[in-house]
């Protein structure tokens, strides 16, 4: 008979357990558990969840990217220029924007490979470059007047449910299957677990890093497009900060900063925890600046849980010796 290990169960479903606790706490708030409010929370946060899926690929492969928010900012502004200023229809605008997201993300990877330093350090530099570029090409004004087709991506409903929610769930399922059922997913874990061993195991680590970067870039761009379409305007301020939500949500989802583990569905739960808490803080009328403090503390807690899990595993190892 298989013994149930509560520690393991908790670790595996930590995000869902915390989400449940948060839901129960907020269920005392009036209307919180209503269909409309739940749809609203999902719809408001679809973009953040999609972006987190992209960042999660990177983190599972053992990389961290800080420039995500500014990639989104650039994608948003470029979509604005294409659709509004150049009058390019919605579909080509979206496709071009996705390609640009992929290129920017792959650029981070290229620089990290060229300079032989981890992606984290590279993106400390490139985030500044992307931010500057975004302000320069948008002349730091917001671009309005998107075509209806473009706005539909963020604003249309199917039945009572907004389109972004469908897109989000679709991408969540695709990413989840990719990670759990395909050899590609196993390769991502291999990179995060031990890239040296992955290389010697015949996995083309260099190529994999580009593929993962491209995939992450595409998801980040889609996230930017949905956010821009929802707002109906593009601005350099659109996007930055999302990397923070993403990384915190991913850590809550049980993916380690050291890479190599975690599930996409937990990422969904992790991001939702932050969304609901943010939503709650807004409802409670907490000042934005206090929200920053609260979010930082949540992130520290998420890091704490991650480190605790790592240490605990080492203790288990020791006693097994």
């Amino acid at each position: 008979m298989k013994k149930i290990n509560f520690d393991e169960v908790f670790k595996k479903y930590m995000a869902w357990i915390i989400l449940l606790v948060v839901l129960i706490l907020f269920s005392f708030t009036k209307n919180f558990l209503s269909f409309a409010n739940i749809v609203n929370i999902l719809s408001q946060n679809s973009y953040a969840i999609i972006c987190s899926l992209g960042v999660a690929f990177l983190m599972m492969a053992g990389e961290i990217d800080l420039s995500v928010g500014y990639i989104m900012s650039l994608c948003s502004v470029i979509a604005g220029i294409l659709n509004v200023q150049m009058g390019i229809p919605a579909v080509p605008t979206i496709l071009i924007t996705i390609v640009i997201g992929m290129i920017l993300s792959m650029l981070n990877n290229f620089l990290s490979e060229l300079l032989k330093i981890n992606r984290f350090m590279i993106t400390v530099a490139t985030m500044s470059v992307f931010q500057g570029l975004s302000y320069v090409i948008s002349k730091s004004v917001s671009i309005r007047g998107f075509s209806d087709g473009f706005k539909a991506i963020g604003q249309a409903n199917i039945g009572k449910i907004p389109l972004p929610v469908f897109i989000m769930f679709f991408l969540l399922i695709v990413c989840s299957i990719l990670m759990s059922k395909t050899y590609f997913g196993q390769y991502v874990y291999a990179l995060g677990g031990n890239s040296e061993a992955a290389n010697l195991a015949g996995i083309n680590v260099k190529k994999m890093r580009y593929i993962i970067s491209a995939l992450a870039g595409a998801l980040i761009a889609i996230s930017a497009i949905i956010l821009t379409a929802r707002l109906g305007s593009a601005h350099s301020n659109t996007g930055p900060g999302t990397e923070f939500t993403a990384i915190t949500g991913i850590l809550l989802g049980g993916i380690s900063v050291r890479g190599g583990e975690g599930k996409m569905t937990s990422v969904f739960a992790g991001v939702l925890i932050i969304s609901i808490l943010t939503n709650g803080m807004q409802l409670a009328g907490l000042d934005t600046y206090y929200q920053f403090i609260a979010k930082g503390i949540i992130m520290l807690m998420a890091i704490g849980i991650d480190v605790y899990n790592l240490n605990r595993r080492q203790v288990v190892r020791k006693s097994a010796k």
Partner: protein, 497 residues
């Protein structure tokens, strides 16, 4: 001579595991006392107890007549105990003298007196017969030299008992010789040495007495002069394992499965050899002689400058490992933990990772096929584990190595390059690996075995190819195996043509 260190009834419990079970041992002043046992026998726990790194649940430690129920690192060092752990405790960015004097208050309280530090360090280094400039940065020293610095660090604190945990595990042959000489020097000074090692050869060479541990228990203390390797192994493993190197009935065939012609690169010059079907070709040489580089070039992991590789009679262009794997070439890397295994993942994740793409329909993994393969290899290689979901991290060294081998075998490779396949695993597990090699060869596979243990090479190989500074200095057939001859080749003394 009297007893300098005595352990009485030491017990250390970890959740679910008794690491030390009522161990009593005593050490005489000025002796070299080896402690042997398989992995998990409790050697490390024992020395950590003496070094003050862990606190035993029960028992007393008596140093120089003073009794303690536990020690702390400071207390231990104040009482003249020094420990050289496998992982060095040196600060790479500081100089030799700064490291040696670290934590040792010299001169003024607040600023360091460099002159005095250098003088004291030089004195100790000289006494130990080492020629290292105290101003050298530790990061620029070789592993062997760093170890010397560790020893100097203990000696400057007037240590009377020096504990060494597998000191030669990462040293080259020349460095090992040096270290063993140093142990002799220390012994002459009356320092007691507790020497932990897996290597029978050196233990017999330097120790006065040998204590054997098994499963956390003290088994027996033997006088080195009055015992034999066979008796020692029997005590360590707990049963008579017969020949150290199991006999093989099969003979290599004439068919050449791997041929390397004119291989240059990574410091290797003009490497030519043939590997026959069913053959174990040993590769001897000193650390840094270019053996691993050769293996990794053949495998496509390191870039070669030029040279041709023929697998199964056909010329192959191998630029990356996946191309080597596609041609039936597998590499079991030297560094199991860093290059071989995915330690944080389960066994059933590790074994199929190299062939998972082949076992997929398009992108999707065929779970049934994978489970079959995992079960098959756990059984065939008798990997000892409660379940296939066990993390590789939690396995013993020998079983970790089996997982790494299984991972490569699952690709159906028939040309296996094994780089130090038994490094850091204990006697019983070593024998299982040897048996496995024999089985593989019997199945018609061929093995290129790189090893730094001469006896292992002579015990297992059909032929031995010797490397010296990037060149092959000779091939020796089984009938002509002789340690001195091979050592001579490995030291660059070529055969008289």
């Amino acid at each position: 001579m009297g007893t300098i260190l005595q352990l009485d009834n030491i017990t250390k419990l970890y959740p679910g595991v008794t690491a030390l079970d009522d161990v009593s041992l005593s050490f005489e002043e000025g002796e070299v006392h080896a402690i042997m046992g398989e992995n998990g026998a409790g050697k490390s726990t024992l020395i950590k107890t003496v070094g003050g790194a862990i606190r035993p649940n029960e028992g007393t430690i008596t140093v120089n007549g003073k009794s303690f129920d536990h020690l702390t690192p400071t207390l231990s060092s104040e009482n003249g105990i020094g420990v050289i752990y496998q992982e060095f405790n040196l600060v790479p960015s500081l100089s030799v003298s700064e490291n040696v004097c670290l934590g040792n208050k010299l001169g003024h309280r607040f600023y360091k007196d460099k002159k005095q530090m250098n003088a004291e360090t030089s004195k100790v280094l000289e006494e130990l017969g080492m020629e290292i400039d105290p101003n050298t940065m530790v990061s620029s020293l070789s592993t062997g030299q760093q170890q010397m610095v560790e020893i100097a660090k203990s000696m400057i604190k007037n240590c009377r008992v020096l504990i060494m945990d597998e000191p030669t595990a990462s040293l080259s042959s020349a460095e090992t010789e040096n270290l063993l000489k140093m142990v002799g020097t220390l012994k002459e000074k009356g320092v007691t040495i507790l020497y932990i090692s897996h290597r029978l050869e050196e233990v017999f060479q330097i120790s006065d007495r040998i204590s054997v541990m098994r499963d956390g228990k003290y088994i027996k203390t033997l006088s080195t002069k009055e015992t034999s390797r066979r008796e020692l192994i029997k005590l360590m493993v707990g049963r008579d394992i017969g020949d150290e190197y199991p006999k093989r009935d099969t003979k290599p065939e004439d068919e050449v499965v791997l041929e390397v012609k004119g291989l240059y690169g990574q410091g290797d010059v003009d490497i030519n050899f043939q590997l026959h079907k069913g053959e174990v070709l040993g590769v001897a040489g000193l650390v840094g002689a270019g053996r691993t580089e050769m293996a990794k070039m053949v495998y496509g992991y390191l870039k070669k400058d030029k040279g041709e590789i023929y697998a199964h009679g056909e010329k192959k262009n191998i630029r990356i490992p996946s191309e080597a794997i596609a041609n039936g070439i597998g590499l079991i890397p030297e560094d199991r933990k860093r290059e071989g295994a995915f330690l944080e993942y389960a066994i059933d994740w590790n074994i199929p990772i190299m062939m998972i793409k082949k076992a997929s329909n398009g992108l999707f993994v065929d779970r049934k096929k994978i489970t079959e393969i995992v079960d098959r290899y756990i059984k065939e290689l008798s990997i000892a584990t409660p379940s296939a979901q066990q993390l590789v991290r939690n396995l013993s060294g020998g079983n970790q190595q089996k997982v790494v081998v299984a991972k490569t075998l699952a690709t159906e490779a028939d040309i296996l390059i094994m780089d130090e396949p038994t490094r850091g695993i204990d006697v019983g597990a070593k024998q299982e690996i040897y048996n496995l090699i024999n089985e593989l060869v019997a199945q018609g596979k061929s093995v290129l075995m790189i090893s730094s243990e001469m006896e292992e090479l002579m015990g297992m190989s059909d032929r031995i190819m010797v490397f010296y500074e990037g060149e092959i200095t000779g091939f020796v057939d089984r009938e002509n195996f002789e340690q001195n001859h091979i050592m001579a080749l490995a030291s660059g003394i070529r055969e008289a043509a």
